[in-house]
């Protein structure tokens, strides 16, 4: 009898001991994993915040790029030219365009996304000012596929203007004779849309060779690429960027830049 009671006591003790071991193991295990999980989530959040901050900095840089002093100086010089010629009507027309463009730059710089319609408005204003400077040497067109809803579809704000500026300043500027920039908006179904900036300038390869220093161009291209990288990283957009020298593929001069936008839900 005593032996049985003794056995029961030892067994009870053993069971409690086992239960304690199991509980401690599970608690330690889950504690460790939860702590690691929280640390990783914190790190991810910090990285996301850092990316967001970087994105804002780049957006600001992009804005500064768009508002570059050369552009302002050249535009004002062109307006001044019409003023000196006493062409009040034309100078007034372009001054209004210029002021509207400045206004749009400031308004849109606060927005992360614009409708395609707003982006086109900005591009038109910008191209009209550039046309004032280049006169007959510059021709442009903006074409939108009918099936693409430009009032509904959104695009990262002011992402196209630097590409158009590159096409004019590095593609068409060096071209002898008339140059043309064509901006095409194409629908690629429910997933998104495609934008192509096509010029018939000297082509990216010749342009790169011509401007060996290219400090400014390199800088703006890097800003565009970094901005696209961060947009992809943000998980809101999937943007594909492709730049080709048309001479290599279409046997004609110029550069074709293609941006494919897919909004991630």
């Amino acid at each position: 009898m005593l032996q049985i009671e003794n056995n029961i006591n030892i067994m009870l003790f053993a069971m409690i001991f086992i239960a304690i071991i199991v509980i401690i193991s599970v608690v330690v295990l889950f504690g460790l994993f939860m702590s690691k999980k929280n640390n990783l989530i914190k790190e991810n959040l910090e990285a996301a915040l850092e990316n967001q901050k970087h994105l804002h900095e780049l957006e600001l840089k992009a804005l500064r790029g768009q508002m570059n002093p050369h552009f302002i100086h050249n535009s004002l010089n062109a307006i001044q030219y019409y003023v000196q010629r006493n062409d009040v009507e034309t100078s007034e027309y372009y001054l209004t365009k210029f002021s509207k463009l400045m206004r749009l730059f400031f308004d849109y710089s606060n927005k992360q996304h614009l409708t395609i319609k707003e982006e086109i408005l900005l591009l038109e204003n910008y191209l009209q000012i550039e046309k004032l400077r280049f006169e007959e040497k510059l021709d442009y067109s903006i074409e939108v596929e009918k099936s693409l809803d430009i009032e509904e579809n959104e695009i990262p704000s002011m992402i196209l203007q630097p590409l158009v500026e590159n096409a004019i300043n590095h593609g068409l500027f060096h071209k002898k004779g008339k140059g043309k920039v064509c901006i095409l908006f194409k629908n690629i179904g429910n997933t998104g849309f495609k934008v192509q900036v096509i010029d018939n300038g000297i082509g990216i390869n010749k342009s790169l060779a011509k401007n060996k220093s290219l400090a400014k161009n390199k800088h703006s291209s890097t800003v565009i690429e970094e901005r696209l990288f961060l947009l992809n990283e943000s998980n809101n957009w999937n943007v594909n960027y492709e730049i080709i020298d048309r001479l290599l593929i279409e046997n004609t001069n110029g550069t074709k830049v293609t941006l494919t936008f897919n909004k991630v839900n």
């Binding site: 071991i21 599970v26 460790l32």
Partner: protein, 202 residues
């Protein structure tokens, strides 16, 4: 008998859950668990009939079952872990352990305790290795949705509890009912974890 019913029910439920989620399960590295569970069901059924109706000893059945089970678990860890050399080394120790156990103990008339003891330690080392491996990966963020985590946790709970039971069994001649009760509780926890693991495939 009641404890056996609880264990059989649990094994049955776990097999059913694995079968219902077989589409996803068969695409994963845990695909062999479905066959392993079917093997357990068949083994338990055979052992029950053999013992209950024919009164034949089930030592051989359980000794074979233990060897197959631990071999399978070591193979599974080998498949999912990166440090193959360490696992191969542990596998070799495991094989030596089986050989020693077969030489020293009576395969036909007793349980291979040395084999069970050594295998339990090997499995515990492998579970620790798995946790270290998982903690280094980004998947740790969603570890509660990781089937491998739950399977390993089930194995950890069972083996960490089973080890003292084995030691105590060797120290005294306990009433087997208490041991069975302890093992049933550990089985409930282990198969509970397995069920949670297979539900992760939903």
């Amino acid at each position: 008998m009641y404890l056996q019913i609880v264990s059989y029910t649990l094994i049955g439920i776990t097999t059913l859950v694995a079968t219902f989620n077989r589409k996803q399960l068969l695409k994963s590295s845990e695909k062999y668990f479905l066959y392993y569970l079917v093997f357990i069901v068949i083994h338990e059924l055979v052992a029950f009939i053999q013992n209950y109706y024919f009164k034949i000893s089930t030592f051989v059945n359980y000794n074979i079952f233990d060897i197959v089970s631990y071999s399978f678990l070591i193979y599974w860890f080998y498949k999912i872990l990166d440090n193959k050399k360490t696992i191969t080394f542990l596998g070799i120790i495991y094989i030596i352990n089986i050989i020693i156990s077969l030489i020293i103990e009576d395969f036909f008339n007793s349980y291979l305790k040395i084999n069970i003891f050594g295998s339990t330690i090997v499995i515990l080392i492998l579970t620790m290795s798995f946790y270290t491996h998982l903690l280094k990966k980004r998947e740790v963020v969603s570890f509660t949705n990781n089937p491998q985590f739950w399977i390993t946790t089930g194995l950890l709970i069972f083996n960490i509890g089973y080890l003292p039971v084995l030691i105590l069994l060797n120290l005294s001649n306990f009433n087997s009912l208490y041991v069975d009760f302890g093992i049933t509780i550990l089985n409930i926890l282990m198969y509970g974890c397995f069920i949670k693991a297979f539900l992760c495939y939903k």
